[in-house]
């Protein structure tokens, strides 16, 4: 039986040798790859670039997997939570749902443990990490040098955009560029330092990005950098305590002169075919079939309900999720009252065509909100619609997912910023400012009947006009803070500060807290003033 022994011995040797090597595996999943392979093709390189844009549009990679943890996958969408934090904290929106702490935003009672706040912060830094990874690798790509430079510039813009949102919402956050290492603990920077970083990046990018309107659909050009600089400067007093209104004038002028033009029809900026709109400078893409994002999909579905004929008004299936609506102070900015609506006419046409409100669609609506949890208390908003401009069904129709691109930057905003910067002493021309405002109002009214006179144009008017033009476009919290009205007791709306009539609240809430989980993971971070556990 010696033979058997030898067989064992041989077997042993063979297996021993092979088994140890077996431990060095590489992923075998067909969807799995690595940086070398991805950047070895032009399509892969652009797919990696597309991910940088899509991080603001999409929740993940389409498998329902969590990209941002600690929150449900479809809640981890940037636009969805950015919208909630920018809108539900103001008079423009209030939420009826019971999802975790979602109601706290309108009540101004959020805490450092808040999961939605954590999701926004995490998503922004996820974008920072993605853009840095891209910048590190794009040099190895097979794409042409000019393409690679352009890709890298766009990545840097998207990083600067993420940091602008961070400056706006969180202030004091770590700056991490492409040299940041996986093993280092991030070091916190001051709000002023982050401001300076965004400013210097954008100024460099001014020359590196594509010429106005020369880039392909879905990608940004240098007008986006100008637009972002305008926003940075207009809010500089809030961010760094110093006046940069003249810089704001400079850059809004550049934007306005860049070749983008106002969409002739206001509503069309928010429709399924709005990629054709000449007004949109930077859009977050969506497509009912191929880019099933929970961003604009959420905005449309969450604001439908209460008997609204969803299919004909919003262009999607179902009866709505019945969650987000406005408090009465928003329609009242248009001079609209409860009596303007009836069950027979829940969607009246208003003189100001920007007033896209519905109410009393099934006769159970209340103008004033007693129960925050009841969707039919408050006023419905149907600004975004998944129908095409001509009322036809969206090209890539899906009852669940919309094809509306979200206009992150659009020309009208530059018009209003110019006017405001002028009124705040940034220079420019008063007549030009008035002209811009009336351009927008003429579009809204269809004629000059809504135009204002020079005497009407003042800073208080701007606060209201910005809401009339830009409501539900995730601007309102930033605007209210700039006007000093976010937390103050002299500017109220229903359920502000967690009382029905509205109340002021502590000023430290003009910044959101750095998520508690980040303080846990990195004890060197210091919480924003005022937030205690």
């Amino acid at each position: 039986m010696k033979n058997l022994k030898y067989i064992y011995l041989i077997l042993t040797t063979v297996v021993l040798a092979s088994c140890v090597n077996d431990l060095d595996v590489v992923p075998i999943d067909p969807d799995s790859s690595n940086a070398n392979t991805v950047f070895s093709t032009e399509e892969g390189t652009k797919g990696a670039l597309a991910k940088l844009y899509a991080s603001f549009a999409y929740n993940g990679q389409g498998r329902g997997e969590q990209e941002i943890q600690g929150i449900r996958e479809d809640f981890s969408n940037f636009l969805r939570q950015y919208f909630t934090l920018q809108e539900a904290t103001t008079e423009e929106a209030i939420v009826s749902w019971d999802d975790q702490t979602i109601k706290n935003f309108h009540w101004h009672t959020w805490s450092p443990n808040d999961p939605f706040n954590e999701a926004v912060y995490s998503r922004l830094f996820f974008s920072v990490a993605l853009t840095n990874e891209f910048i590190r690798n794009v040099g190895n790509s097979v794409a042409s040098e000019s393409d690679k430079n352009l890709f890298a510039a766009e990545a840097r813009f998207l990083r600067a955009f993420a940091y602008w949102v961070l400056v706006d919402m969180y202030g004091n956050v770590p700056i991490m560029d492409e040299n940041a290492s996986l093993s280092d603990l991030p070091v916190q920077n001051s709000r002023a330092e982050v401001f300076a970083f965004v400013e210097s990046e954008l100024k460099e990018l001014e020359t590196l990005l594509a010429e106005p309107k020369s880039n392909e659909r879905g990608r940004i050009d240098k007008v986006s950098a100008w637009m972002l600089l305008s926003k940075l400067y207009l809010n500089a007093e809030v961010y760094i305590g110093s006046d940069k209104y003249s810089e704001a004038i400079t850059y809004t002028e550049k934007v306005i002169g860049s070749g983008y033009s106002l969409d002739p029809v206001y509503e069309n900026i928010f429709k399924a075919d709005n990629h054709n709109s000449p007004e949109i400078i930077f859009a977050i893409g969506a497509n009912g079939i191929f880019t099933q994002s929970h961003g604009t999909t959420f905005i449309v579905h969450a604001s439908s309900g209460g008997g609204l004929d969803v299919a004909s008004v919003r262009g999607v299936g179902g009866t709505g999720w019945g969650g987000y609506r406005a408090v009465k102070e928003l329609p009242e900015k248009f001079g609209i009252q409860e009596s303007d609506f009836s069950m027979a006419n829940p969607l009246p046409d208003f003189a100001d065509g920007r007033a896209l409100f519905y109410f009393s669609a099934n006769d159970s609506w209340n103008w004033s909100i007693d129960n925050v949890g009841t969707f039919t208390e408050g006023v419905g908003v149907y600004k975004f619609s998944n129908l095409n401009s001509d009322g036809s069904q969206a090209e890539y129709y899906n009852p669940d997912f919309v094809s509306i691109d979200f206009p992150m930057f659009r020309l009208a905003d530059a018009y209003l910023m110019y006017a405001e910067a002028h009124l705040r002493g940034g220079g420019g021309s008063r007549a030009t400012a008035l002209g811009y405002i009336n351009d927008l109002r003429a579009r809204a009214y269809g004629d000059a009947s809504g135009n204002i006179s020079d005497g009407d144009m003042n800073i208080d008017f701007m606060l209201e006009e910005r809401s009339r033009e830009m409501y539900w476009e995730a601007q309102r919290r930033t605007d209210l803070i700039r006007f000093g009205k976010f937390s103050s007791a002299d500017y109220l709306w229903e359920w502000k500060g967690n009382t029905k009539e509205g109340a002021g609240f502590a000023d430290y809430r003009t910044l959101f807290p750095i998520p508690q989980s980040q303080l846990t993971a990195n004890p060197t971070l210091v919480q924003n003033n005022g937030y205690v556990n």
């Binding site: 064992y8 042993t12 088994c19 140890v20 077996d22 431990l23 060095d24 969807d31 790859s33 940086a35 399509e43 797919g47 990696a48 670039l49 597309a50 991910k51 899509a54 999409y58 389409g62 498998r63 997997e65 941002i68 943890q69 600690g70 809640f75 749902w97 999802d99 975790q100 009672t109 805490s111 912060y121 830094f125 996820f126 990490a129 993605l130 990874e133 940041a180 290492s181 280092d184 603990l185 879905g218 893409g285 079939i289 191929f290 880019t291 209460g306 004929d309 969803v310 299936g317 179902g318 009866t319 709505g320 019945g322 099934n362 009841t374 989980s517 303080l519 993971a521 004890p523 556990n533």
Partner: protein
């Protein structure tokens, strides 16, 4: 086993003799002494019974007895721990009998990892359960046999689903987010025990009828030989085999059962509902017009009695003296109470155990196969049955949705957020799977001719599964109109593992130093892999394409390579030492972290072998055990086979991005942890085994303390560099300590009457001791325990200083009459404002795990009758009544989109209008006693001929439940969200008629 057969033959022979002889004689007194064959000491308490009569006596303290019998009578002498004897009385008056100890029983051999050991020589905490102690009834999966039988092994009763799964936990869980399931080894093959799509419970592969023994390895000195997979204990299953030289035996086992729903969630009837809607909705003028005129009991429409049957045939024997075989076929047709749900399972088994080369080469071949047709029906219908408006009919002849009544929008399209008609949900869905699985191995056990103390064992095995499933929605179904692209769904899930073990064993008695040494050394290689393909499409093509059609493929694998060794050393057969060492390599980790070393040491002192106890008749075993060992955990889930590798993944077709006119697949870098490694659990165990009165009473007690370090836990990471906000990484520590007591014994032990009683007790305390990389007193931990209602609401927390899954809720405020005040909670922080807006106002409350648990069982045998029961007691397990929290709310009666929904009538207790998910009002003490089974049987020793025996039995499973819990059932079978009662698939009470025949 040979021994038993021999005894049986003798018994049979004597019995025949008695019948044939039929001798009559004068009654005469026979007396004598019964003594131990080895040491000659008298044995007290021996039953001496005249066969076929009730005439009997018991031996006295000295072992003496005296009985009056007629000549030719047969005396049966029996005592626990000794071989039963039958003696035919002749004319003598003096009868001295020596009884042999039952070697089979005392020298019981148990399987341990890579070998076997005598039970008396074990140094670790090992419990073996064999067929006669198994639970009875219509059991479809192996773990049900073991439920409640072993201290510290918590096996939850399966759900009502056919072939439903149940959770197994040995001594609590040693991990938080990694797998807490024990390693299961079937005939030497560690199997894939994780969720296999299309498979309610992967363990149903093994037909319970084919199982010979379960061996549960609980402490690290027993499990550490399995190294990186042993932290949650090991269950070794061996299946039945034929015996050398055995005659052909055929056995049939059949069962017919009916499962009956016991309890429904209390909801309003149609008439009550009409009243409630009129009185309790905010605006009845909008709600009441939606009411219908029916009185439909939706729950009764979807749940019904379920009749099932089960048939098993086994053939065993031996071809010649050296080729024992056993072949078995089983067929189970199990229906679930949920309409349309069923499982049709066919199992095959073949065991060949030839012995070659003068018994030097033992070959063991085991092949098991299973084919299952599952119809899962749609469990979602249960929740819908609870909520669907009881005033509406099931059918509506005007409905374009297959004739089912449906909530619609004003334009006639389905109201997608309205409740789906539960009958439509079931009837218009096809949710089925076909699963094939096979497990097999070939073991060559060669004892060297030139060195008989040495043997080499080679074991090659495989586990293979292929599952094909369909989840189709009828094209007419209202609930399928929303996402037509997923109305035709199919999946294929295939995979398994291959195994190669090789080890050498050397065993030698060293008489000169009164020692015995047994050394084992070997290695093991195992490759796990699986592939999952999911396809979806709409029924119809649009412009020649299936819009939204998608196919996703997931493929993954991992390898484990290990070297292991064990030394057993025994001195004077009193002092036993076991040391093991395993070096495990896992492909899941990066170089530098791939290898882990897992040592253990166990020591046992057989005090009964000491001279001062050796002659004791009272104490026949007294063994003190102490062990220490380190085990690991590397199983972090299906998608985590490459946690240490930087990789990119491409998006699916519905997650592309448009540049210009071209869609791009998104390439995303994956989060990874280059430093990830094993979880390490260190266990200390001290135990004492006692056997009294010739094994008539057995007891053991164990105390253990387990510490898990480098806990694999998903923790927040500093965002901005990695590609996630939380990452599974080695951080944190966890402790489990506990005590386990087992007791078993014969209260009565006579030939015609015996009563066996067994009980076990286990108490485990779990505490998280570290959770973050840096100590942070402000870190409250992370929420777990997702509930139904709202989105992503969690009511438990993993927090330092508390057990895992501690309930974390607001303290409800009550009014003077003791009624809860909606939305009012105790302001713990005193900060005022919205109390429920601040998590720091939540309280750390109880946990879903019991303070202690007990299993009790008993069996009574009287002549041909037997009777047994088995039950479990859990005390102090808390349950969140999610059914009430999410359904006992007036706000749900009417939805703004235009539909009505039924609610739980327990709303009358809380009177809550809006959802209050996180109030402790819904937290209840879920202590319970469940009588898992009560069974009665009758054995027919002789049917038509002596060669045929049979058995009839009647069993009630889930016979009764004693609890103060207000919901349906406080035993929650959900490993992910323990203690959260959202399951409305009630466990049936099952009546089982069994028939067994052997020839």
């Amino acid at each position: 086993m040979k021994h038993k057969l021999f005894i049986k033959s003798i018994l049979l022979f004597s019995f025949l003799l008695a019948i044939v002889a039929g001798v009559y004689g004068q009654g005469n007194v026979v007396s004598g002494t019964i003594s131990d064959a080895v040491d000659g000491s008298g044995i007290p308490g021996v039953n001496v019974l005249e066969k076929g009569t009730t005439n009997g006596v018991v031996s006295n303290v000295s072992g003496n007895f005296s009985i009056t019998v007629e000549e030719g009578a047969i005396l049966i002498l029996s005592f626990v721990g000794y071989v039963t004897q039958e003696i035919t009385v002749g004319a003598q008056t003096k009868l001295d009998v020596q009884m042999e100890t039952d070697v089979e029983q005392l020298q019981e051999v148990v399987v341990i990892g890579y070998g076997q050991a005598k039970k008396s020589d074990l140094t670790g905490s090992v419990v073996s359960v064999s067929a006669e102690d198994f639970n009875k009834g219509a059991l479809t999966s192996p773990q049900e046999l073991l439920m409640g039988k072993v201290a510290g092994v918590q096996i939850s009763a399966p759900t009502g689903q056919p072939g439903g799964a149940s959770t197994i936990r040995i001594r609590g869980g040693s991990s938080l987010q990694a797998n807490n399931d024990p390693l299961i080894v079937i005939d030497g093959v560690p199997i894939t025990n994780k969720g296999i799509d299309g498979f309610a419970n992967p363990l149903t592969t093994i037909n319970p009828n084919d199982i010979e023994t379960f061996t549960v390895l609980k402490d690290a000195s027993a499990t550490a030989i399995y190294g990186a997979r042993a932290s949650n204990g090991v269950i070794i299953i061996t299946t039945k085999t034929g015996q050398a030289g055995q005659e052909l035996k055929v056995s049939y086992n059949g069962k017919i059962s009916v499962g009956v729903p016991i309890k429904y969630v209390p909801v309003y009837t149609g008439d009550e509902f009409r009243e409630v809607v009129a009185n309790q909705t905010a605006d009845p003028s909008v709600a009441t017009p939606l009411l219908g005129t029916e009185n439909t009991d939706w729950q009764k429409l979807v749940l019904d009695n379920a009749v099932s049957s089960d048939h098993n045939i086994s053939v065993s024997g031996s071809m010649g003296e050296s080729l024992p075989y056993r072949a078995t076929v089983g067929y189970t047709d199990q229906n679930g109470m949920l309409k349309r749900s069923h499982m049709k399972r066919t199992t095959f088994g073949l065991a060949l155990n030839p012995s070659l080369l003068d018994d030097h080469l033992k070959v063991n071949v085991n092949l098991k196969g299973m084919l299952t047709d599952n119809n899962f029906s749609k469990e979602g219908a249960l929740g819908e049955a609870l909520r669907f408006d009881p005033t509406q009919p099931v059918y509506d002849e005007n409905s374009p949705f297959g004739g089912f009544y449906t909530w619609t929008s004003p334009d006639g399209t389905p109201n997608f957020i309205g409740t789906t008609n539960p009958v439509a949900r079931i009837e218009q869905s096809e949710n089925t799977s076909d699963v094939f699985r096979s497990i097999g191995n070939l073991e060559l056990d060669y004892r060297f001719h030139f060195l008989p103390d040495m043997k080499a064992v080679l074991n090659v095995g495989y586990d293979r599964f292929d599952s094909d499933g369909t989840d189709n929605t009828d094209p007419l179904a209202a609930f399928g109109a929303r996402s037509p692209q997923i109305n035709v769904k199919t999946f294929t899930y295939s995979g398994g593992n291959e195994l190669l073990d090789f080890y050498l064993n050397y065993s030698k008695a060293l008489l000169s130093i009164e020692s015995r040494i047994d050394v084992t050394a070997g290695y093991s290689w195992q490759h796990f892999h699986n592939e999952k393909i999911n396809r979806n499409r709409p029924w119809e093509q649009t412009d020649g394409v299936y819009v939204g059609a998608d196919t996703t493929v997931d493929k993954t694998e991992n390898y484990l390579v290990s070297f292991f060794g064990r030394i057993n050393y025994s001195l004077k057969d009193r002092y036993l030492l076991t040391a093991t060492l395993r070096n495990d390599g896992s492909s899941r980790f990066a170089e530098g972290n791939q290898w882990g070393l897992f040592p253990s040491v166990g020591f046992a002192w057989k005090i009964n072998e000491e001279p001062f106890l050796k002659s004791s008749n009272t104490i026949n075993e007294l063994k003190l055990r102490a062990g220490w060992g380190v085990t690991g955990q590397q199983d972090i889930g299906f998608n985590s086979d490459y946690p240490a590798i930087a990789s990119y993944n491409g998006s699916t077709s519905n997650a592309q991005y448009l540049f210009g006119n071209q869609l791009y697949t998104l390439w995303k870098p994956e989060a990874y942890d280059p430093n990830i490694k094993w979880e390490e659990t260190t266990t200390v165990n001290v135990g004492l085994d006692v056997s009294l009165l010739n094994d008539r009473i057995n007891a053991s007690i164990d105390y253990y303390h387990r510490t898990t370090n480098d806990l694999l836990n998903e923790v927040p990471i500093p965002v901005g560099t990695n590609f996630a906000s939380r990452l599974i990484t080695n951080v944190g520590s966890l402790e489990n300590k506990g005590i386990e007591i087992s007791l078993g014994g014969y209260a009565i032990s006579q030939t015609d009457l015996s009563l066996y009683v067994a009980a076990n007790f286990a108490k485990n305390r779990n505490e998280i001791t570290k959770l973050t990389a840096f100590p942070d007193p402000n870190y409250i931990g992370y929420e777990v325990g997702e509930i139904d209602g709202g989105s992503n609401n969690r009511i438990q927390i993993n927090s330092v200083g508390y057990p895992a899954n501690t309930f974390f809720m607001f303290q409800q405020v009550y009014d003077q009459d003791g009624n809860p005040i909606e939305g009012l909670y105790v302001d713990k922080t005193g900060n005022g404002g919205a109390v429920d807006g601040n998590d720091l106002n939540r309280n750390y409350l109880e946990t879903p795990t019991p303070d202690f648990s007990m299993g009790v069982s008993s069996s009574l045998t009287y002549k041909q009758f037997d009777f047994s029961f088995s039950g479990r007691l859990n005390v102090g397990n808390y349950v969140f009544n999610n059914i009430n929290a999410n359904n006992a709310l007036y706000s749900q009666l009417y939805n703004q989109s235009g539909y009505l929904a039924n609610i739980a009538s327990t709303v009358e207790n809380s009177q809550f209008f809006n959802a209050q998910y996180k109030t402790d009002y819904y937290l209840e003490n879920g202590s319970f006693f469940r009588m898992d089974n009560i069974s009665a049987g009758y054995n027919i020793d002789r049917l038509f001929s002596d060669k045929i025996n049979a058995r009839l039995s009647f069993t009630v499973q889930n016979a009764f439940l004693i609890t103060k819990y207000s919901g349906i059932d406080p035993e929650i079978n959900d490993a992910t969200n323990p203690g959260i009662d959202k399951n409305i698939y009630p466990r049936p009470r099952t009546f089982v008629l069994g028939f067994n025949i052997n020839f």
